[in-house]
Every structure is written in structure tokens, then in C-alpha cells.
């Protein structure tokens, strides 16, 4: 362990000495942790951090998790994974002060209003319009696949402020108060039976000027920060080796072996999946370090692609090892979960298998990510792009 990591661990332990788990509520304790700069340690002092190297975050998190502090990463997945780094990078001092603390304590849940029915992989083609009015903007449009919108206090909103510009240039990034008049959140049921996502209808919603994040017309650059963090976030948390999906796979394999249904062929296949998942986990740790240091490399897109490409085969093989149990399902009743566990780990392989089919679609399809890697990382020539320099208003859209 390096000296910096030791110091980080010691600081977290000292904090817990003064603020033990139990006497105060989790929210109060997280507030104190934020004020002590032990929330997101590479953030600036006063913004929940200490300006440390981002590589020290896992050591700090581990101290808190070991002490029994609840893990908020699934309940506020957008807030912690995407909103916080975006606001820290692009927000004004006032926006940082207003949003970062309640985001970290869990008081404010966040959602992301990016995708639309007509703008999926081609996000920059989105059609939600923001029109200038006295003191702010009026926003109208429809967003989709909005995780946790039904419990969210705030939304990261990308909207078109200038349709006469080419598509990447006419966008502005807003922080939307989800309690505003004209915001209508409707459940969107998915193939697992539950409604983890939502459709969000925006009907002439007023957004004040101080809710603009970054520059008017500069929304795409801000969105890039969100998307890069999303990829790292969807690449998976730096969990322990052998935990999560592959942990479940091994458990299912053991049952199958005990029942005489799995030999060396199955074992070899499991270990192939295990090693690939481990490689993806380690690559995501690299990605997290790079991203937090402000030098995002290719690792984020690689890790996101790999987590998707390895998670589904892991559950696919788990289903095979389940035997006839794979013929059944627990319950298709529609529910609206208040957390998003995108990588499974529910304890039910059949549910996790179905959920894993979204991994290669959400947060950038595997096809788009391969193109990103080919063009941005390897420098391969782009496909001909007739839409790139055309005013958005003249583009062909579905």
C-alpha cells in the first residue's frame, strides 16, 4: 500500500472515530463525510473532496463500507456516477454548492434526460426544444429510458436551443427541477416485467437561467463529460475479484457439479468467462483512475463495452447450468424499483439474465462503442457523415 493510500485510509478511519455509524442517521453521517472532504476525494476542498489523487477513492470507500455504511451507488446511480462529476467540472460555484452535498447525502436522487424516441445512438439529433423567455427557458419534448425519474429530484437535461445550427452545436445543458410544472413521468415497462425506466414528457416547462450548466450552445461538450463518466460507471464498480455476476456463475456451477451436470468442459467455459470478467473489472479500475485524473483514455469505452459483452454471456451460461430451473421465472408483476442494478447481482440468475440483455444497449450500444474505439482511439477514418455539417432543422429524422 502506498503512503498516500495509507493516509487516505487513516483519514477515513479517523473520521469514523469521530462520527461512528449508528448515533446519527446515514444522511447526517454522509453530510459530515462530505464536509470533511471524504466524499469524492479528488474533488476540490469545499466540494466534498480534498484534491487528492483519484486513485485513493477505493481505499476510502472501502473503509466506510466495511464500517457498515450503506452503499448508495445503485440508489443514486446517475447522481453519483454522472451528475456529480459533470457539475464539479462545469458547474458554477453556486451550482456546486447547491447540488453536490444533497446529491452525496442521498437527499436528492438524480436522473438523466438525454435519450429520446428519435435520438438513441444518434444522441446529438435530439429534438427537445428550449426556447428563450424572460429569466430563462421554456422546454418541450419527450425523453425516454429515464432511469429513476420517478424518484428523482433533479434531472440532467440536454435540449436544443438553436435548430439552425448543425446538430452538435445547437445544444444546451440544463439542470432540471423534476418538480417543475409540466414534467410528466410515466413508467416504461421492460422485458423483465418491471418498470425501472420511465418516459418523461416535458410540456412548456420553465427552466431558470441559473440552471444552465456550461455555456448556452455548449451542451455537447458538457454532455461528453457525462457520457464518459457514464461509460466508466456502467463499466462496473471496482468490486472485489470474483464477486457479482461471476460469483453467481461459480455458485451455479457448484450446484451443477454437485448434481453431476457439469464436467471439465463447463469448468473451462466458466473460467474463460471468469478471466474475461476479471480483465474487464481491472480495465475499469484503470478507466476510473484515468477519468478522475482528468486524462480519460480509451479504457472507459473499452470497459463499458466489455462489461456488456461479458455480463450477458456470464448469465447466459449460468442459465444453461441451471438446467430445468431456467424454465421458470419468479414474477412478472409490474414494479417500479427505486434503484438501478444494471449488472445483475439480484440473486436470481433468470432475472439477471433478462436484465443483462440491456447491457449492450444502455449507455451506448456495443456497435456505437466499437465505432468510437475505432475512430477516436485507433484513429481509423470515419464513415461518410452527411449529417455532420447540416443545420439540424434540415436533417432527415425518424
Amino acid at each position: 500500500m502506498s503512503r498516500a493510500t495509507e493516509a487516505a485510509t487513516e483519514a477515513a478511519e479517523a473520521f469514523l472515530g469521530e462520527h461512528p455509524v449508528g448515533p446519527t442517521s446515514d444522511q447526517e453521517q454522509r453530510g459530515a463525510r462530505f464536509d470533511a472532504g471524504l466524499a469524492i476525494v479528488h474533488f476540490d476542498t469545499g466540494s466534498g473532496g480534498r484534491g487528492w489523487d483519484a486513485g485513493e477513492q477505493p481505499a476510502v470507500d472501502e473503509v466506510f463500507l466495511r464500517a457498515g455504511c450503506p452503499d448508495w451507488s445503485a440508489r443514486n446511480v446517475i447522481g453519483l456516477g454522472m451528475a456529480a462529476p459533470t457539475i464539479h467540472a462545469h458547474g458554477t460555484e453556486q451550482q456546486r454548492r447547491r447540488h453536490l452535498r444533497p446529491l452525496f447525502t442521498g437527499e436528492d436522487i438524480w436522473c438523466q434526460l438525454f435519450s429520446e424516441p428519435g435520438a438513441g445512438s444518434d444522441l446529438a439529433a435530439l429534438a427537445t426544444r428550449a426556447v428563450r423567455v424572460e429569466g430563462g427557458w421554456r422546454v418541450s419534448g419527450q425523453k425516454v429510458w429515464t432511469t429513476l425519474a420517478h424518484v428523482a429530484r433533479w434531472g440532467l437535461l440536454l435540449a436544443r436551443t438553436d435548430p439552425e445550427q448543425p446538430k452538435h452545436r445547437g445544444l444546451t445543458y440544463f439542470v432540471l427541477d423534476m418538480r417543475s410544472a409540466g414534467v410528466d413521468v410515466r413508467p416504461l415497462r421492460q422485458l423483465t416485467g418491471e418498470a425501472e425506466f420511465n418516459e418523461v414528457y416535458l410540456d412548456d416547462v420553465f427552466v431558470p437561467d441559473d440552471a444552465v450548466l456550461g455555456e448556452v450552445g455548449g451542451g455537447w461538450q458538457v454532455a461528453m463529460t457525462t457520457l464518459m463518466n457514464e461509460r466508466v460507471s456502467l463499466g462496473g464498480r471496482p468490486a472485489e475479484r470474483g464477486s457479482g455476476a461471476v460469483g453467481q456463475l461459480v455458485a451455479v456451477l457448484r450446484q451443477a457439479r454437485a448434481a453431476g451436470r457439469a464436467g471439465d468442459a463447463e469448468l473451462d467455459r466458466v473460467m474463460r468467462l471468469w478471466a474475461r470478467a476479471e480483465a474487464a473489472r481491472l480495465t475499469n479500475i484503470r478507466a476510473g483512475e484515468q477519468l478522475r485524473r482528468g486524462t480519460p483514455g480509451p479504457e472507459g469505452s473499452i470497459a463499458k463495452l466489455q462489461m456488456a459483452e461479458s455480463n450477458n454471456p456470464v448469465y447466459d451460461h449460468s442459465m444453461e447450468l441451471l438446467g430445468t430451473q431456467a424454465l421458470l421465472y419468479r414474477d412478472y408483476t409490474e414494479t417500479r424499483p427505486d434503484f438501478a442494478a444494471v449488472h445483475g447481482g439480484s440473486g436470481d440468475v433468470r432475472y439477471d439474465y433478462l436484465r443483462s440483455l440491456a447491457n449492450s444497449i444502455e449507455g451506448g450500444t456495443s456497435e456505437v462503442l466499437r465505432t468510437v474505439l475505432g475512430e477516436r482511439v485507433l484513429g481509423l477514418p470515419p464513415e461518410p457523415r452527411p449529417d455532420k455539417d447540416t443545420p439540424w432543422a434540415s436533417l432527415r429524422r425518424s
Binding site: 478471466a275 474487464a280 481491472l282 479504457e299 466499437r370 465505432t371 475505432g374 485507433l378 481509423l380 461518410p384
Partner: protein
């Protein structure tokens, strides 16, 4: 704290890459392949003298720099990238690891000092693992056949794992020109890495370490980890070759790399290379911190990295099309290195089943 190589190791990488670009380029590589010896003694000596490469695994008091496995990994990665013909895996990966793992300080010192100043060394055994070596030491003489010895003809320091009077396996040393020793160079699939068959007919041997089976198996695990770093370097280079070609080759009026079919194939190669790199450097970091971790780490890494290198080397040939299938193009040299490296220290499947056993997955 990151498990990736630190700043010092990256600086060494920069120097080494420059050195190899200058002294071990493609033309020299081709010339080397036509020679009897598997390496260029001039290059080897300069690498030892100027860059200290031969002493990276030698303790400082013996003139080395004891740089640690992560730094060695960077060196192997670069050697694999350049496809350098040099007995580095045999000398540093196998022999040095064997001496350090098995021998007491006094016995080890002269051998490590010799390696540091440029002596080529290797380890011979007969079997899957050194601890199971079928070579026999009866009294003070070794008898048997080591069918596949890395750089067996070039080695000046010849170490042998032999079963002592039917008991435990010990580490011995024989003189390369000893009576009863026959070294036969073999035609190898990978022409950039030489192997020999060595016949021992009552060859006089010096005992270096008794009951060394477990230590020698550990040395093989270290060698396998360093080989994996070399494989990552090769895989990274074939990716570069594929991308360069996809950028410059025009068909249907545009570079073939602008077609998604080719672009996505290159992206898949990139993914394999970076995942392999994460696994390898994490494993080296872990084995540096705790030598007992080497067995599991090498078992985990080998299957994935070996298969990834073969896949990338084959994809590189495919992306090059017909030109990639020619003798003149270097693509086949990398493919053969990849395919041979996959088979060198046990198969990928064997490694995976071993990893399963070590993880307790198979019980």
C-alpha cells in the same frame, strides 16, 4: 494506488523502444532468422551494458537493479512488440527466477553476477512442470532427455531440474560442453525463438539446490507471467500494424478502415489488447507484492492472454488480406510467435483448469 507500471518503468520503456528501433529493426530481425545462433551477441551485450537489461532481476549487491516484476513486464512487453530475437525469456524469465527461488545466497551469487554481465542461461527439464522432471541424477551424473529446451544451444549456463536418486527434484548445473551432453537444435514453428533437444548420457552435474521442485515450479510461474507481458507487447504491435494498413489501403474508393466491418474488428483487437494488459500488469503487481500469488495469477493470465494474442495476430493477417499471407510480410512472424507462446508453458485450457482448482471453483 495503480497496478499499472510506474513512471520509472515507463521511462525505461521509452529508452528500450528507441534502442530496439535502432539496433533490432526489421532488417536485422530478418538477418538474424538466417543465422545458426538464436540471437545477436552484440545486441545482447549492449542491452546488458547500456540498459542493464540482463541485471533487472539481480539483487543490487551483485551489480543488478532488482527492478521488480512490473518493470520486467514492461521490458518483456517491448521485446515482444519488436519481436526481438534474444534469449531473454530463458535467461531472465526461467534461469534467473530458478536461481533466485531455489538457491541459497552464496550459491546464487556467481551465477546471477554472470547473468548480469551477459551470460546466456536456461533451464532444462522433462515434463509439464520442473517438479515432475523425468531427468535423473544418479550419484553425480544426469541421464535422460529434455525434449524442448528454450535457447538450449545458445545457453552458456545450463541449469537442469533432475530427480535425485529417485527422490525429490533438485536444481543442478552442467557444463554445456560436458562429455555425454548432446544439444540438437530443432526446427521451431516460431523461428524467432530457438529450442533444442538435449540428451544427457551420464553427464557430470553440480548440485545447486536439493528438494527444489516447488521453487522451480514457482520460477516457471514467474516466467509464464513475463511471457504473458511479452504476448501483450506482440498483440499491441499487430493491432498497430492492422490499423496502419486499414488507414492506408484503399478499396471501393475509401480506406478499408472506414468500413465498420474492418473498424469493429480493429476495435475488438484493441479491447483484447487492453484487457490483456490490465490482467498482466495486475498479476505482476500482485506477484511483486506477494510471491505466493504467482501461481494463481499466472494460471489466470495465461489462458486469456495467449488466446488474445493468437486472435489478434490472426485478425491482423485477415485485415491485411493476401499480402498478410506472404513470407515477406512480418504478419506471419507474429502469428507464429503467438501460436508457439500459447503452447510454450502448457495449454490455455490446462491453465484455466488449474486456475479453477486454485480458486476453489472446481470443488
Amino acid at each position: 494506488m495503480s497496478f499499472m507500471p510506474g513512471a520509472d518503468a515507463e521511462e525505461l520503456r521509452t529508452h528500450l523502444r528507441k534502442f530496439l528501433d535502432q539496433h533490432a529493426d526489421r532488417t536485422r530481425l530478418r538477418q538474424q532468422l538466417d543465422r545458426d545462433s538464436g540471437y545477436d551477441p552484440n545486441l545482447w551485450r549492449r542491452a546488458a551494458d547500456e540498459l542493464g537489461l540482463a541485471g533487472l532481476a539481480t539483487p543490487e549487491r551483485l551489480g543488478g537493479s532488482d527492478a521488480g516484476l512490473s518493470t520486467l513486464g514492461v521490458v518483456f512487453e517491448e521485446l515482444g512488440r519488436a519481436l526481438t530475437c534474444a534469449p531473454y525469456l530463458a535467461t531472465i524469465g526461467l534461469a534467473t527466477s530458478a536461481v533466485r527461488a531455489a538457491c541459497g545466497a552464496e550459491v546464487a551469487a556467481p551465477m546471477l553476477a554472470a547473468i548480469t554481465s551477459g551470460t546466456v542461461a536456461t533451464l532444462a527439464w522433462d515434463g509439464e512442470w520442473p517438479s515432475g522432471s523425468a531427468l535423473r541424477l544418479d550419484g553425480t551424473a544426469i541421464t535422460g532427455i529434455a525434449p524442448l529446451v528454450l535457447d538450449g544451444n545458445d545457453a552458456e549456463l545450463l541449469l537442469v531440474a533432475a530427480r535425485v536418486d529417485g527422490g525429490a527434484v533438485g536444481l543442478c548445473r552442467v557444463e554445456p560442453n560436458a562429455a555425454g551432453l548432446l544439444r540438437t537444435p530443432l526446427v521451431t514453428l516460431d523461428t524467432t525463438r530457438r529450442m533444442s533437444r538435449i540428451d544427457f548420457d551420464a553427464v557430470p552435474a553440480t548440485m545447486l539446490a536439493e528438494d527444489a521442485g516447488a521453487d522451480l515450479d514457482h520460477a516457471l510461474d514467474i516466467a509464464a507471467l513475463l511471457l504473458a507481458a511479452e504476448q501483450v507487447g506482440g498483440a499491441g504491435r499487430v493491432l498497430e500494424m492492422a490499423v496502419e494498413y486499414a488507414q492506408s489501403r484503399i478499396q471501393f474508393g475509401r480506406p478499408i478502415g472506414s468500413f465498420q466491418a474492418v473498424k469493429h474488428r480493429c476495435a475488438d483487437m484493441l479491447v483484447d489488447v487492453e484487457l490483456a494488459r490490465s490482467l498482466v500488469f495486475h498479476a505482476l503487481h500482485a506477484a511483486d507484492a506477494d510471491p505466493a500469488a504467482a501461481a494463481l495469477e499466472s494460471a489466470l493470465v495465461r489462458g486469456f492472454v495467449s488466446d488474445a494474442y493468437v486472435a489478434c495476430a490472426a485478425a491482423n493477417i485477415q485485415i491485411h488480406g493476401g499480402i498478410g499471407f506472404t513470407w515477406e510480410h512480418d504478419a506471419h512472424l507474429y502469428l507464429k510467435r503467438a501460436k508457439a507462446a500459447q503452447a510454450l508453458f502448457g495449454s490455455s485450457t490446462a491453465a484455466r483448469l488449474r486456475a479453477a482448482a486454485l480458486l476453489g471453483v472446481s470443488t
